[in-house]
């Protein structure tokens, strides 16, 4: 039986879909059988982030309504053999799926895959309830902003009352220089407030925009620091012990200079 993990955040735009695409791809790159499920019905995005939008014939609503077999709706990734996507419906309503159907779907997928990664819509309404219904574990994505951390706290509370204990946190879009200057909350500040375990930290990385434009997850780019962060997270999910990234390693003019002239 595979693991069913939901990736959620409460607030929109903090990087849930990017995290899902990258963690899913990184797990597949490690040789696991992975399926990513987009539950954002009506506002699907995971397909474009992965560059698979033109292969969609059936979607999650078709599966839950029995219009097609599960296998028919699963889209194979073009890069990794073991990576699959179950897309959300775009022209349907959020109420087209209910939590009971999601539970069934997730347990069916867990039989066939090592990891079932669920991309949750923003908000705490029906879509959120659907997304977490079949999950056994949860990952909460936040950014070092007051609004995102507050929403993350709300989500952690809701996850706990839904028996999803011990969610793991991803702190996305950290700017090490601003943290150093005291103008941005650090990972420790956020942990201090939320009191949960960390899955990983992701530095702000402009390359994410470029890779998303191309429909290729950042983990495929060996030079991307965000990609590296997500590769580490995938290995932590599989149970490996990987230390958190040293965000300051590459920052600061002096450090770069030292590196350049061989002091480091």
């Amino acid at each position: 039986m595979g693991e069913v993990i939901v990736i959620t955040s409460g607030k929109g735009g903090v990087g849930k879909t990017t995290a899902t695409a990258n963690i899913g791809t990184a797990l597949a790159a490690l040789g696991h059988k992975v399926v990513m499920v987009d539950t954002d019905i009506g506002l699907r995005n995971l397909d474009v982030v992965l560059g698979l939008e033109n292969r969609i014939v059936y979607d999650i609503v078709d599966v839950t309504h029995g219009n097609c077999r599960l296998k028919q709706a699963l889209i194979k990734d073009k890069r990794f053999e073991g990576l699959h996507l179950l897309p959300a419906a775009q022209t349907k309503d959020k109420t087209a799926v209910n939590p009971e159907q999601m539970r069934e779907l997730c347990s069916e997928l867990a039989k066939q895959f090592d990891y079932v990664i669920i991309d949750c819509p923003a908000g705490i309404e029906q879509g959120f309830k659907n997304a977490i219904a079949g999950a056994e574990k949860a990952i909460v994505v936040t950014t070092p902003e007051v609004s995102a951390v507050r929403d993350a706290d709300r989500i952690i509370g809701l996850l706990e009352s839904a028996e999803l204990r011990d969610p793991k946190l991803i702190v996305n879009r950290i700017r090490p220089l601003m943290v150093k200057k005291g103008d941005m909350m650090s990972m420790d500040d956020i942990i201090d407030i939320l009191a949960v375990n960390v899955l990983g930290i992701v530095p702000e990385d402009e390359m994410i925009v470029v890779t998303t434009n191309k429909g290729e997850p950042a983990v495929l780019d060996n030079y991307s620091r965000a990609g590296q962060a997500y590769r580490n997270m995938a290995r932590r999910i599989t149970g490996e012990e990987i230390p958190l990234m040293d965000l300051e390693a590459d920052t600061g003019f002096m450090n770069k200079l030292k590196k350049l002239i061989g002091f480091k």
Partner: protein, 95 residues
């Protein structure tokens, strides 16, 4: 000017990150209490149980709320008393 210098040299206790953290902490105390209205309801029932041992109260008009002021959160209860009980809890226990 002083603020500028403090900013330049960092280590400023009112750096924007600390402001953010402090604001968050406050907001979360309220949020977390807010999360469960049923918790307040339970508290209300427990209060009624205890207080009823000593006095007769107007249960329908009872109000229990969490109040947020500038930098603290308080539990505010408004309990209208109808009549004091002469026989205290002890006698009930015996009876």
């Amino acid at each position: 000017m002083l603020e500028f210098l403090l900013r330049v040299f960092g280590k400023n206790s009112s750096s924007s990150k600390n402001v953010a953290k402090e604001r968050l902490r406050l907001v979360l105390v309220h949020d977390r209490a807010d999360v469960s209205p049923q918790l307040l309801e339970e508290l209300k029932e427990d209060l009624i149980k205890v207080i009823s041992n000593y006095m007769e109260i107007d249960e329908s008009a009872l109000e229990v709320n969490l109040d947020t002021s500038d930098n603290m959160v308080a539990l505010v209860a408004n309990i209208p008393v109808i009549r004091m009980k002469r026989t205290a809890k002890r006698s009930e226990k015996i009876g």
